[in-house]
Amino acid sequence: MKTVIKTTNLSKVYKDSVVPVHALKNVNLEFSQGEFTAIVGPSGSGKTTFLNIIGGLDKPTDGHVIIDGVDIATMKESQLFDFRLRHIGFVFQAYNLIPVLTALENVSFIMLLQKQSKQEMEKRARAMLEQVGLGDKINERPGRLSGGQQQRVAVARALASKPDFVLADEPTANLDTESAFNLLDIMARLNKEENITLIFSTHDQRVIERARRVITLVDGAVDKDEYFERA
């Protein structure tokens, strides 16, 4: 299967604190097209750092991040903006949505920035909202949606523009158990249907089992990398 992301000897040292923090140590990982991966590990193990670096939001101290054969560590900041816009979908723990836009506008947002055609964009946005079960909420603003619904809109937005892969940093951290399962189920289903590579981080044991691959980080290094068969 095609490799979407490949990291070689990825290291990150935060030097701005009193004692330098080795947040990532020599991480060598590959992610194939269509994989659904959970990054787990205790707090401070480097999950966010890893996702930020492969998402082009942060630079590694050492090593390379190759996405579709391109080393993004060598890209200029302005190129990275465009690269993120066209190739990567993001879901964060919170504050994913623009409060002044409706659910539909939020889902269309990335496609608007990509300058896609209007009709197609709206069709796709509606379809994605249907997919995440919010077909009846397309004209609501985020303030009137529950936390779980907001995260589902965020997932719809991240996938709507058909990125190479989607990074989700603790997408369920602010959700109750039911909403968390619901969100992960939706993510798993979309991963299958759209064949979009999905990587999420969590330290929530309950949702880990939804992933087909679980990478465990400990102190910035890969401790375990396991594959599971899921129904």
Partner: protein, 407 residues
């Protein structure tokens, strides 16, 4: 771009109260500034117009030395030729030659120094319309010798009334003191009570007989049909009559022109101070709003909204606030100035009578030149741009990784 503008517009209404306070502050600030400006502008404009109308006229002609030393011997010797030219000139509306003497006025009660204006009643009436400013008495109507018009202020101070007798004393050409008795024919009042207190009008012909001389003309004031043509008329006449000095109204009323110029500078300074204050308020508001949205802006920068777009978004937000405020301020001012310029503001009711002593009218009709609105709009645009840049830059300096981490 359209998307950015829509988001920016909606963003300013997220914190409705803060935005409304900011817009109101701009509106009220500009209204205050513009009203102060229109008030002083109107006041000076009126003062200027009445000065020209009642006293200065469009242009004045003197012996070059008369301007420095208003002595009887500094005369316009070729006045007769100038009269002929002026009467024949289609561009001239009216003119009046005057004999001007410094003298003493003695009434039964007291003695005061006065400037004696020896006039030709018909010419003077056409030029300054002094005949229309009588509050009592008549304007040199009958064939009586030694009539005099005194200003209301002087009449009050010296307790002179219509038909009162008084004595004028002045020097003749040889420096000899001459005295003559006059009788008050009328009392006049112009907008400038300082003028009224110091100037009295008598007939040129009476002075002529008292001095036993030819007619003496020290000053010719004239009105043109078109005020715009004044500089060119001055140049023409100056060349034809080089022995005299021809001055236009703005050269004569230098201190008044200066006052107007100074008021303009003051108004601009006041507006700049108001705009500075508003600018700081706006910067503060926008910085607060950027700071509050750190994570949201971080998210936007992460998902691919580049710095230019984030910069533009904050720029539009600031621009919307300042434009709404400016629009409000200008509309409020225009409305207010329009209303007050019709009815005028009577300063007498708030104890402003003392203004009259300085030649200012007690009823002020605020007005504003289009120029000032332009100046203001340019200043507002400059302030808006300057105030926008800092918060907008602050927003683009956010590092997406840091901003989304900032839990």
């Amino acid at each position: 771009m359209k998307l950015i503008i829509i988001i920016a517009w909606r963003n300013i209404w997220r914190n409705r109260r803060r935005s409304i306070i900011m817009i109101t502050a701009i509106t009220v600030g500009l209204w205050g500034g513009l009203f102060a400006a229109s008030f002083s502008h109107g006041l000076l404009e009126q003062r200027f117009e009445t000065s020209i109308e009642q006293h200065i006229s469009h242009m004045q002609i003197h012996h070059p030395d008369f301007i420095r030393d208003q002595a009887i011997e500094h005369q316009i010797h070729d006045w007769a030729e100038i009269y002929d030219m002026l009467s024949a000139d289609g561009e001239i509306k009216a003119f009046s030659g005057r004999t001007i003497l410094s003298g003493m006025l003695s009434s039964a009660n007291l003695t005061r120094g006065v400037r004696i204006m020896g006039i030709n009643p018909e010419l003077e009436a056409q030029t300054t319309g002094i005949s229309n400013h009588l509050v009592s008495g008549t304007y040199f109507a009958e064939e009586i010798a030694n009539q005099i018009l005194v200003g209301k202020k002087l009449a009050e101070k010296t307790k002179l009334q219509e038909r009162s007798r008084l004595v004028l004393t002045f020097q003749d050409q040889d420096g000899e003191l001459v005295s003559a008795a006059f009788r008050v024919a009328g009392i006049y009042q112009t907008a400038n009570s300082v003028f009224d207190e110091s100037h009295i009008f008598v007939l040129q012909s009476d002075l002529q007989s008292i001095l036993d001389e030819q007619i003496i003309i020290n000053e010719i004031a004239l009105l043109a049909k078109d005020a715009e043509a004044i500089p060119q008329i001055r140049d023409t006449y100056q060349e034809l009559f080089p022995a005299n000095t021809f001055r236009t109204w703005n050269e004569i009323a230098t201190e008044l022109s200066y006052l107007i110029e100074m008021a303009r500078v003051m108004i601009t300074i006041i507006l700049i101070i108001i705009l500075l204050a508003l600018g700081f308020g706006l910067v503060n508001t926008m910085l607060m709003s950027v700071f509050e949205r750190t994570r949201e802006l971080g998210m936007l920068l992460s998902v691919g909204m580049n710095k230019t777009r984030v910069f533009l978004m904050i720029l539009f937000e600031t621009a919307f606030l300042s434009l709404l405020g400016t629009l409000g301020g200008i509309l409020l001012s225009v409305g207010f100035i329009y209303l007050t310029s019709k009815r005028g503001i009577d300063l007498a009711s708030v104890g402003g009578d003392s203004m009259e002593a300085f030649g200012f009218s007690t009823v002020v009709y605020p007005s504003l030149s289009i120029n000032l609105y332009f100046t203001l709009i340019i200043l507002v645009i400059i302030t808006a741009i300057l105030t926008t840049i800092y918060p907008a830059l602050k927003a683009t300096r956010l590092s997406p990784a840091e901003a989304v981490r900032d839990q």
